[in-house]
Amino acid sequence: MRISVDPAACDGFGYCAELVPELMALDEWGFPVVSQHEVPGELLDAARQAARACPRRALLLAGPVQEELKAR
């Protein structure tokens, strides 16, 4: 499961960095930087909660890595 941010939708609320600080940090302007794109098993629930909590639905969770590689 890969985590990524839709930068056009994101409005810098920062809830994602609060809920999964292991994967996301905030830059100096309050916008998310993904420090780790691959979500480890124990953080899957937290990642889903973060995606639901985003007021702009800007946090994206994508399926298996194979799909991502195909897109590239």
């Binding site: 939708a9 609320f13 809830y15 609060e18 809920l19 909590a53 702009r56």
Partner: protein, 205 residues
């Protein structure tokens, strides 16, 4: 059936709903305005949501008990249609309007995943309108607005909402002033060319 207990419940639940609504509105303003708080942002948003659910619950009790209580005939239609009750016609209508607005906000939020973002945001702005409508309804209906402690409670709620709203308006001006000049002009020129489009930041209630 006529019952003094029902009447007390109607008045009490109405007041509680109003206090809860005030708290919901204040939390909503602080959340959208990104106020700094001891509580993490996502938690404050969650408290805002749960408080709004409680508000709707007490509002439902308020409306139901008013209907069931036959001491005064309110009429089931008046629950959703304003100006259809003979009892305290105008002030009750305000209550109906307030409840309608809150219902729209509540339903659209419950179904948020399925509602387009712009529609949800527009409906959520109605929450700002529902609050003064509810306060007017409470004052106008008469019964408890003569009690000092009830008036005191209303005053505190009003102060909270007014201060939060004032903070938000001032903050919006401050944030805009902090944006780089070139960017303000750039975004203004985009907005003026695309009616109805909302560039990401700054377009929330």
């Amino acid at each position: 059936m006529p019952s003094i207990d029902l009447w007390y419940t109607t008045r009490a639940s109405g007041l509680v709903a109003l206090v809860l609504l005030s708290g919901t509105v204040v939390l909503g303003i602080l959340t959208a305005g990104r106020a700094r708080s001891a509580l993490p942002g996502f938690a404050r948003a969650e408290v805002h949501r749960r408080l709004s659910v409680l508000t709707v619950v007490f509002l439902a009790v308020h409306v139901l008990t008013a209907e069931i209580d036959t001491y005064v005939k309110v009429g089931w239609l008046a629950v959703v249609a304003p100006f259809t009750s003979s009892y305290h016609r105008t002030w009750l209508a305000l209550g109906t309007i307030g409840a309608d607005l809150l219902l729209a906000v509540a339903i659209s939020s419950a179904l948020r995943q399925h509602v387009p973002a712009r529609a949800w945001r527009a409906l959520h702005w109605l929450a700002y309108l529902s609050w003064p409508v509810a306060v007017s309804h409470a004052l106008g209906m008469g019964t408890d607005s003569k009690l000092t402690w009830a008036l005191g409670l209303l005053a505190v709620c009003t102060a909270g909402v007014v201060v939060a709203a004032g903070w938000r308006v001032a903050g919006a001006h401050r944030a805009k002033a902090a944006l780089p000049r070139t960017v303000i002009r750039a975004r203004r020129s985009i907005r003026s060319r695309a009616a109805g489009a909302t560039p990401g930041i700054g377009g929330r209630p």
